[in-house]
Symmetry: C2
Subunit: 140 residues, 2 copies
């Protein structure tokens, strides 16, 4: 199981996946993270909050970004070095989140790959940021 | 359920929690994120990799940071605006991860709270970064 090598990558290259931030995902993320804030889990509490209803954990959307990087671009064999995440809009229970990563810089000296990371719901940005990954070299 | 208000916060204020990145957590995170890379799940594959054994997903550690912020400092009612994560060392299956957040700046004009985020295993940094959160004002 091997993803792309540094030599396979070019600026502008992109990958995308869509995943539902549904009730099951939110409850599973609450359990694994330990974040059982009622804003994510309790309809009545969340309805009375400034969000007006339950929202997904921001870091659940971060998890989707990391899965796309680890699975697709560059994929298995790459090493995750850094990620920035800006939580721009709430993600509601059941929203279909599209995560997209796009290569913005390649450093041949270090093998580092910089990517813009963008997550949208119905075309609107919910989380954006930047990732830096080390891609493996193609074996000689 | 209400966390701390902006007026309760001061520079240097800190909170900490420890959580095991054990096999159950890693398998649950793989399921919820969709990242089923064998580096996290398959002993034989991971033993032959550059890591020499299975490691936790980096973003699982990010999830622990976000849970600490949402649950403790500032806690419920705060809004997560930004997070940077630098993945510095691998976290092995079963490692006890200590996440700590420490307030480094407070902006009274915006209610924004900046925190250093540090995750360690046996005293060594595994993930560090910075968070920006909006803390609610104490009602008049």
């Amino acid at each position: 199981m091997q993803g792309l090598y540094f030599e396979d990558l070019s600026i502008g290259q992109t990958a995308e996946m869509t995943r539902a931030a549904d009730d099951a995902a939110i409850r599973a993320f609450a359990a694994v993270s330990g974040d059982d804030n009622p804003l994510h889990l309790d309809d009545a509490y969340a309805a009375a909050s400034s969000f007006g209803g339950r929202v997904a954990h921001g870091m659940l959307i971060g998890a989707y970004v990391s899965a796309l990087i680890a699975g697709r671009l560059p994929g298995p064999g790459s090493v995750y070095l850094r990620q920035t995440l800006r939580f721009r809009r709430p993600v509601r229970v059941g929203d279909e989140v599209t995560a997209r990563v796009t290569i913005s810089a390649l450093d041949a000296a270090t093998g580092h790959v910089t990517m813009r990371t963008l997550c949208t719901v119905r075309g609107k940005t919910v989380v954006d940021g930047e990732a830096v990954i080390m891609a493996p070299r193609r074996p000689a």
